[in-house]
Symmetry: D2
Subunit: 149 residues, 4 copies
């Protein structure tokens, strides 16, 4: 575990956040601190279900990925983060123009890291908690990534 | 609850499966029976993470949405299905050329329906279980959808 | 949903908390407010595992039952509360002389209520968060309890 | 990981199962195979809630502890098993004279082991699935137990 987060590392993690599937979903990092990571997505028609609600999968993907990056803020650069499992409750339907996800580490282990993600539905100035997740993550040294377990 | 699933309803659900975010993710229905729903996605670069693994969010979205459609097969047409919560364990990384999701209803309630989803990583003829989810769903009459709860 | 909690009802819930298995486990109510319930157990040898840690089942039972009573504080007297599901993360082993559980409602629905429980390990004046749970509950009218679903 | 389970080790695990809180709850091992563990409890008044249903905490404790012992069957004797987290769905109320819990390892990792537990309500010859859990476990070498994480 690292006890501080350098500006350089924070900037790297913010850029690194939006690649692959996450870039395809148009999620972007908003703020990065040690043990905490926030992200945002501007909602477009392809984030919704047929009935206009924001799809649960959008919220779940955001909750998982942002939790993973909150864990990246407490480990050194040689470590990758893998999701072991997560659980998400959908508290009320999301309708809004954006989602913000706020993830915090609640258990700092050397290997097992646990984060919580709160997903807020944003309309104008109003933020409403729409989903909440608990995410179990594992820090794996890059050299051992192929031998996970 | 409906005790049978008509061919017409099964065909409707198979088409209805791929809309909004799910269409954007390119997931498609594969087979539909009463209490069971299977889907598939051909993996493309935008389904992966930076390290080449299939993103956990892809599996989670598929596990949730396919579980939801397994619940649709046991309710009558006036009901919508909402996800209350789900939990997913990632058993081993997914690398393959496709994912298949197989969802089954394990509790048929009038309101509360519980389904399990198994996500398989497919390479050639080989299928490997890569993730497993338990999903709690709620059947809500269309007329009450805005008053959920 | 009830918008207030009478003193009489709070006192009833505090007494009602400790019956059956919960009485056998020696858990007791500590404080009751609308949407929040706290409980305590003085740890004895039979709450531990062979290695001296407090058993995960003790924490899970306390997290579930106290969450259920937090839900009781927001419904009227004709409703019973059933647990649909819960998920609990064990953040660090519990060794102490007591556990305190603090449960709060985070979603007030007419039927579906979601609460979080935090379980603290207590030694002298020190409280350490040892486990955290998310609990999905259902309010069922007493007349319909046998027809749950 | 051990590829076989000796009779001696199986007998040890069956005895070891019922200690501390588990002995207090009167749960007993029923059968032990590599990757699988079954347990039983004869239901007494102190396992119930005030309304006569078997308490959710009884099922959760059994699901967790039996899953842990299914993991013990695949590791060598120098390893202890800790529960990282679990999630349990209550499918229907339990009323019966006994519970049986059947736990199976679904992911064999060197460190992270995932098991499923099915809890059956038993009345006469009838077994009904009453709860199902997914449990994330960690194998920790005895020498490192105090430095978990």
């Amino acid at each position: 575990m690292e006890s501080e987060l350098s500006e350089e590392r924070a900037a790297f993690l913010a850029r690194d956040y939006s690649r692959g599937f996450i870039q395809y979903c148009q999620f972007e990092a908003e703020s990065v601190q040690r043990g905490r990571f926030q992200s945002r997505v501007h909602i477009q028609p392809h984030h919704r279900q047929q009935d206009g609600f924001i799809h649960a999968g959008v919220m779940a993907t955001m909750a998982d990925h942002t939790a993973g990056y909150s864990a990246f803020t407490i480990v050194s650069e040689e470590y990758q983060i893998l999701t072991i499992e997560f659980k998400i409750n959908f508290l009320r339907p999301g309708y809004g123009e954006a989602l913000i996800c706020d993830s915090r580490v609640i258990r700092e282990g050397k290997q097992i890291i646990i984060s919580e993600s709160e997903v807020f539905d944003v309309t104008g100035e109003t933020r409403t908690l729409t989903a909440k997740a608990m995410v179990t993550l594992m820090a794996v040294h890059k050299d051992r990534l192929s031998r996970k377990g």
